[in-house]
């Protein structure tokens, strides 16, 4: 079964409404901020512009050192997410006539890779909070 040829310009036509809505959204925010500027008082004092920390004066710099404990998750996420993106195009055709069992086996190979990766990360203790 061959899809009729789709001209790129026609294809992106469907996104024109989305684009227009984005413009509407930006206008909404702009009008809200603009109206807010007219409606609200502006009475800055040094105390008011201080960083808020529970009511006492802030201690040290605003951007403090913190240990990012889950940076390994970030790598895992990138790997897994990039993998799973490929599921979507595959999902639209895998059960089409002529594929069937073959693609199903392929799916299990794919899932196997993911599962082994996850298991490895689990065994390595990466998934535990350190």
């Amino acid at each position: 079964m061959r899809e009729p040829t789709v001209i790129a310009a026609d294809y992106f036509d469907t996104y024109s409404v989305v684009g227009l809505l984005a413009v509407v959204g930006v206008l909404f925010v702009a009008v809200a901020f603009g109206a807010g500027r007219l409606l609200r008082p502006v009475v800055p004092t040094p105390e008011k512009l201080l960083t808020y920390e529970c009511g006492v004066d802030p201690v040290g710099e605003g951007w403090a050192h913190t240990q990012v404990r889950y940076y390994v998750y970030a790598f895992l996420y990138v790997i897994f997410a990039v993998d799973s993106i490929f599921l979507f195009p595959w999902a639209t055709v895998f059960a089409a006539p002529g594929y069937g069992a073959t693609t199903l086996v392929e799916m299990f190979v794919f899932l196997g890779f993911l599962a082994v990766g996850l298991l490895y990360a689990y065994k390595k203790g990466v998934l535990a909070w350190t």
Binding site: T14, Y15, V17, V18, L20, L21, A22, V24, G25, V26, F28, V29, A32, F33, A35, G36, R37, L39, R40, P41, V42, P46, K48, L49, L50, T51, Y52, E53, P58, G62, A64, T66, V68, Y70, Y73, Y77, F80, A81, S84, I85, L87, F88, A91, T92, V93, F94, A95, A96, P97, G100, T103, L104, M107, F108, L111, L118, Y122, L127, A128, W129
Partner: protein, 322 residues
């Protein structure tokens, strides 16, 4: 109908839904939470059971001074609420409410792909707010938001992929056209994973670690006041509407109903969305906040494996019946 007029009406309807539905959910939350906790909730504004409470809140927010802390990264700080809010508006346009091509804002061909991608942008607003505030607590909140996104985006993607496999298409209208009632039990695990992961991405209780008020003040939104804070709140409630709408469309059959699917399809969509929104509120009242490590553990060791199992099940059943 005239093309330009048609587009204008669609935009207007989507925009109206975007402004009204989150307020309805918000007001429902006020009342439902109150009654679950043996209180009355707002009773004065507007007269009848305080229906205009959120309107009054909005007026109050618009009149409040807009404070940008001296140390903050001014432009990023000011833009963050818009970045958090607008993606949900864009997602609404792709959600079909009734049968046929007319009952959806825009027929986005790669619907599932589009909504997941655009919803991911919303979290960027929280990250911008957390970083630009130059506040330790905001930064902690922002980092927790990032961790939560990393953990829960994946099960959400996988659960959505399972539906795409079942329907053989990534178009949201296509998914609904292919829907049959037995999809609900077939995809139930995926539905739970999707819904829970969505809740976590919205940072709703019990997954509200990033804004844990008793711990890090209000996370990334600590320094915000007035209109900008209101936009963050609106983003949260618009997020609830979008999540419940998407769960309805992907897993619960959208406009399909036991009867009246032709004329009253939109009503089914709204009804299912409303029931899910009620569940979201219910969960907030019922469960304590998860700790950060429990939160990560739930995603990686429970939801991801469950989503993978659902994909396997979907694949086997789909090939078996075709």
């Amino acid at each position: 109908m005239n093309d330009a007029l048609d587009v204008a009406v669609r935009l207007l309807l989507v925009f109206a839904a975007f402004l009204v539905l989150p307020l309805v959910v918000g007001q429902t939350e006020h009342k439902v939470m109150a009654h679950m906790q043996g209180r009355l909730g707002p009773m004065y504004a507007g007269g009848f059971h305080g229906w205009a409470q959120l309107v009054a809140d909005g007026v109050k927010f618009a009149q409040k001074e807009d404070v940008v802390p001296k140390d903050a990264d001014r432009r990023v700080f000011q833009l963050a609420p818009a970045v958090a809010l607008l993606p949900y508006l864009l997602v609404l346009v792709a959600i079909p409410v009734g049968p046929g091509d007319g009952a959806v804002g825009a027929l986005v061909d790669a619907g599932i792909f589009f909504v997941l991608a655009v919803m991911g942008v919303g979290v960027l607003g929280s990250l911008m707010a957390g970083w630009a505030s130059a506040n330790k607590f905001s930064l902690l909140g922002g980092l927790r938001t990032a961790a939560q996104l990393l953990a829960y985006e994946l099960p959400m993607l996988l659960a959505a992929a399972s539906v795409a496999m079942a329907a053989g298409t990534v178009s949201l209208t296509g998914v609904l056209d292919a829907f049959a009632w037995w999809w609900v039990p077939w995809q139930i695990v995926g539905a739970l994973v999707f819904f829970v992961a969505g809740l976590a991405e919205l940072q709703r209780p019990p997954f509200d670690m990033p804004v844990a008020d008793s711990e890090i003040i209000f996370g990334a939104y600590t320094e915000y006041t007035g209109l900008r804070f209101a936009l963050f709140l609106l983003a949260e409630y618009a997020g609830i509407v979008v999540l419940c709408g998407l769960t309805t469309v992907l897993f619960l059959g959208g406009w399909h109903g036991p009867w009246g699917a032709d004329g009253l399809g939109w009503l089914w969509t709204l009804l299912k969305t409303a029931v899910l929104a009620f569940v979201v509120i219910w969960l907030r009242v019922s469960y304590p906040r998860l700790r950060e490590d429990q939160l990560q553990k739930l995603a990686w060791t429970t939801l991801v494996p469950l989503a993978l199992a659902q994909i396997a099940l979907t694949g086997i059943v789909k090939v078996a019946i075709s």
